[in-house]
Structure formats: C-alpha cells, structure tokens
C-alpha cells in the first residue's frame, strides 16, 4: 500500500533527516515506527502526507507517486488518510461534535450520513457525553480520542498516528493504543510512531526502528530495541 523507494530527505546541507529509506507497508498492517527524537519518524509521516517532498527517491501510495500530485488530487489522497498528532490539532472554535462533523463536511458527505455516523464514532471513543464541549474543556486523553474519532470518521484506508501518546499519562496511553488496535482489527492500516517502550510492547505488531534517519531494524513482531 505504501512504498518508500530509497528515500532521502535533507532539510539543508548537513541536516539529513532520512537517509536511503526503503520499506513497504501492506494493506491492513499495524506498523509501529520507533526511534529517538530526531530519528526521522515525523519526517516519514510528513512524506506520506505530501507535507514534505523527498530530496531523493519516491513515495508511492498504491500506484500513485504521492509527490507528483497537486491541488485536487492531493486533496483526494489526503481524504484516504486519517491523521492523529501528538498535539491533537483540534479546531478550537468547534465543539467535539463539530470537530468530527467537519471532517465529513470537508469531504462533502450529506447531512443524513453525518447525523448517523458522528454519534456512532463518539460512542466508539466514549465521548458521547462530551459532544457539546469545546476542545479546551477536555482532558489530554479525551482530546486524543477526539482526534482519533475525527481521523476515522471518514473511513480512511490508512491512519497515521504521529506520537499520539506523547502527551498522555499511562492509563490514557493504553486506552489510545487499544483504540488504534481496534480500528486496525476493523481493517484499517495503521502507522504509529512512538518512542514509548510500553506502547510497542502493548501493540505486539511489526516494528520498524529508525536511527539517525536510517532503518536499522524491521521486525515482524518486534520489541523496543533501543
């Protein structure tokens, strides 16, 4: 589903974030990408979202070269990907319900579908009671569950979760990881970046380890090996 072909990303001369990375991710997989801060995890996700362009190499989403897309086609690609960030990035002027509904409105779903799907997802992430609150009224764990709800509402093929547990306590961390596993069980591909050992051990899925921008390990059912 996702293919990195010998990808190098340099931000400036001497500041190389990724070096000669080649990997492929299959439909339905759950992949944890681990590494210290600055190992290149976030750059990798940004390349998939076409927020950054590779300096050398290509990144494919199915049969499309992501970095050759622009405008409408890029928008269409992004609609196939749900994203969860460490800092949540919720829309602060919108309520919990509206944050989720926005993602559906953005891809032009009709009102009926929105009214049907949003409550379901709210229930899945256990935020039904908080539907009318604003993001600043939620705890960290609730914000992240809301972010996940927004990411999955459009039924994307792929979920990218970039350090989703970075700002959470252990209990919330475990909840968020379980939620992502549940989503993966329903058939969605999940890419999770983290530097949290317990997260990797809880997931028990494929682990790709990055060090200084290079892939140093790729284990089928990996352990945190840093």
């Amino acid at each position: 589903m996702i293919y990195f072909n010998n990808v190098t990303k340099k931000y400036s001369e001497g500041n190389t974030s990724l070096e000669e990375v080649s990997l492929s991710i299959v439909q339905g997989e759950f992949v944890a990408i681990v590494g210290h801060s600055g190992a290149g995890k976030t750059t990798l996700t940004k390349l998939i979202l076409a927020e950054e362009k590779p300096s050398i190499g290509t990144v494919f989403f199915e049969s499309t070269d992501i970095h050759k897309l622009s405008g409408k086609n890029l928008m269409k690609l992004r609609r196939k990907i749900g994203i969860v960030f460490q800092d949540f990035r919720l829309l602060s002027n919108k309520t919990v319900y509206e944050n989720i509904a926005f993602a559906m409105e953005a891809i032009e779903k009709d009102e009926k579908e929105i009214k049907k799907d949003v409550p379901r997802v709210l229930e899945l992430v256990d935020l039904t009671a908080k539907a009318n609150l604003f993001p600043h009224q939620l705890s960290g764990g609730e914000k992240q569950r809301l972010a996940i709800a927004r990411a999955i509402i459009t039924q994307p093929d792929l979920i990218i979760a970039d350090e989703p547990t970075g700002n959470l306590d252990p209990i919330n961390t475990s909840e968020v990881v379980n939620l992502l596993k549940k989503i993966n069980d329903l058939g969605t591909t999940v890419i999770l970046t983290t530097h949290n050992r317990s997260v990797v051990e809880q997931v028990k899925k494929r682990v790709i380890t990055l060090e200084n921008g290079r892939v140093v390990r790729d284990d089928k059912e990996g352990k945190y090996m840093l």
Binding site: E51, R89, A103, F134
Partner: protein
C-alpha cells in the same frame, strides 16, 4: 450540494465569529475606526464644499455704466451676456433703482440727502451685477467688456468702471485657495482612507495568521480551498456589517453635536445633512464594511491555501 455547502460555510463562519471573542471584538473595533474615518471624510468634504460654495457666492463683479448711458444698449448687453456659458446669474440695476437704493441706505444721513436734492440730474449710473459659474472666469468676462462693440455710444464708452480690476487680487487669491483646498482635501482623504485600509487588512491578516494551524488541519483533513476560505470570508462580512451598524449609530450623537455646535462655522448643519443623506451614507458604510472585510479575508487567507 452547493446549497448545503453554502449553508455549512455560513454556519461555520458565524460560529468562528461568535466563538472567537476577543479577536472578533478587535476586528470590529478596527473596522469601525476605518468606517468612522471614511464617514468623517464624507462629512468634511460636505462641509468644505458648502464653505467653498458660500465663498464663491460672495464673489461677483459689477459693471458700472456712465450716467446717462442709453438703457436699451445696456439691456442688449445684458441679453448677450446671458448667453455666455460662464455666467451663472446677472442682475440689472437701473439708474433710478440705484438712486432709490442710495437714498434708502443713507436715509438717516440728511447732509448727503440734501446734497443729492441740490442736483438736477441723477448722478448715479445703471449697473450690471454679474456672477460667474466659477471665480476663475471673471477675468475672461471682464475682458469681454473691453472687446465688445455694444459698449460704445458714439465715440464714448458707456462703461464707467468694472470693479473686477479693484477686486482682482482678492478674487485670484480666493480662486487659488478654493482650488488648493479641494486638492488638499482630496489628497488627505485618500491618504487617510489608505492608512485605515492597511490597518484593517493587517489586523485581519494577523487574525488569520493565528488560525494558520487550524487551516493546516483543515487541509490535512481533506477540505477544499473554498471550504476553508468560505467561513473566514463569512466572518469578514459579519465584522463589516456589525462595524457599519456601530458607525452609523455613533454618528447620530456626533452629528447632533456637530449640528448644534458647528453649523455657523461650517455653514451646513451636519445633523440635517446626515438625516437627509442617511440612506446613501448607510449604503456607503455597509458597502465599504463588507467589501473591506471580504477582500482583506480573501487575500489574507490566500497565502496559507497556496502551500
């Protein structure tokens, strides 16, 4: 789908506006100041025009004819002058009328009146009082008299004097003051409007800059440019409408006060002016408010959508 999208954009824009608290208030304040400046300039222009017209009205030239000049030649001259496009208004005063006016003016001055009674003939001549469309035209009008053949009776000229020559310096100076004041007024208005537009644009740009992360999130969620831009433009429209209504309300007491205090000075009652032009001013304010809001939002958000 278009209607649904429009509805969503409008709802989202109004939510943005009503939930942004301080930033909405800040943009309304700035926009109100801009509209206040624009409306004040309209008032100032109205006052200035009125004063300039008053001054213009006060300028005229009078052609005095020699006493005993043939009345029919003077009336012929008046007719031919009436056809000149430069002339706004012309009044003939006959010799008898001039004498009556003189007597009335000096009715308490017995010495003068007695002296007048001693004379057999009317010592005063007829006169034509001429008002031009524009003060700069007096020069050409006065030249006309020097060249025209009406003005001779036999070998003698029937014109005693034209007071343009006496007043020339004052008329010229007034003309240049009027023209200067108009140009200065226009330049000042232009600069002030430009400054307030730049301030409004910068404020709206700053507010949208604060939302740049959210704009990014919307893009990542897959929202199209119109769907991201739309709500910001709707907020801009709301800011424009609210600010123009505030400005309109502010100008009610302001114009009443100016009407009470400044009417003699400006030569026009600004409250009456405000009332009689209320509808036009209302359209100008709401129109400028919405236009400034929409254009500023459109351009301010443009740079974040391009990436």
């Amino acid at each position: 789908m278009f209607l649904t999208k429009l509805k969503r954009i409008i709802i989202s824009g109004s939510h943005n506006f009503s939930r942004s608290g301080f930033t909405s208030v800040a943009s309304i304040v700035i926009m109100t100041i801009t509209l206040f400046v624009i409306t004040s300039l309209i008032f100032i222009q109205a006052g200035l025009n009125q004063s300039l017209n008053d001054i213009k009205e006060k300028v005229d030239v009078t052609v005095y004819f020699v006493s005993g000049a043939d009345e029919s030649s003077i009336l012929d001259l008046e007719d031919s002058l009436k056809n000149l496009p430069e002339i706004k208004d012309i009044t003939y005063t006959s010799a008898e009328q001039a004498l009556n006016d003189f007597r009335e003016k000096h009715s308490s001055d017995y010495l003068t009146l007695q002296a007048l009674d001693e004379l057999d003939d009317n010592p005063l001549g007829a006169s034509l009082n001429i008002r031009a469309q524009d003060p700069s035209q007096y020069e050409s009008i006065s030249k006309y008299f020097e060249s025209d053949s009406f003005i001779t009776q036999g070998d003698l000229t029937i014109i005693d004097k034209i007071d343009y020559h006496q007043n020339k310096v004052i008329i010229d100076r007034l003309t240049s003051i009027i023209n200067g004041a108009k140009k200065l007024g226009f330049a000042l208005s232009f600069i002030l409007v430009l400054i307030s537009l730049i301030i409004t644009y910068s404020t709206i740009r700053l507010i949208i800059y604060m939302s740049k992360d959210e704009i990014n999130v919307m893009k990542l969620v897959g929202a199209g440019s119109d769907y991201i831009r739309g709500p910001f433009i709707v907020s801009g429209v709301i800011v424009g409408v609210v600010a123009s209504i505030i400005t309109i309300l502010i100008f009610i007491p302001v114009s009443i006060w100016l009407g009470n205090q400044m009417t003699d000075f400006i030569g026009i009652n600004l409250y009456t002016y405000y009332k009689s032009n209320f509808f036009q001013l209302f359209i100008i304010m709401i129109g400028s408010g919405i236009t400034i809001g929409v254009i500023s939002s459109y351009f301010a958000i443009h740079r974040y959508l391009r990436k």
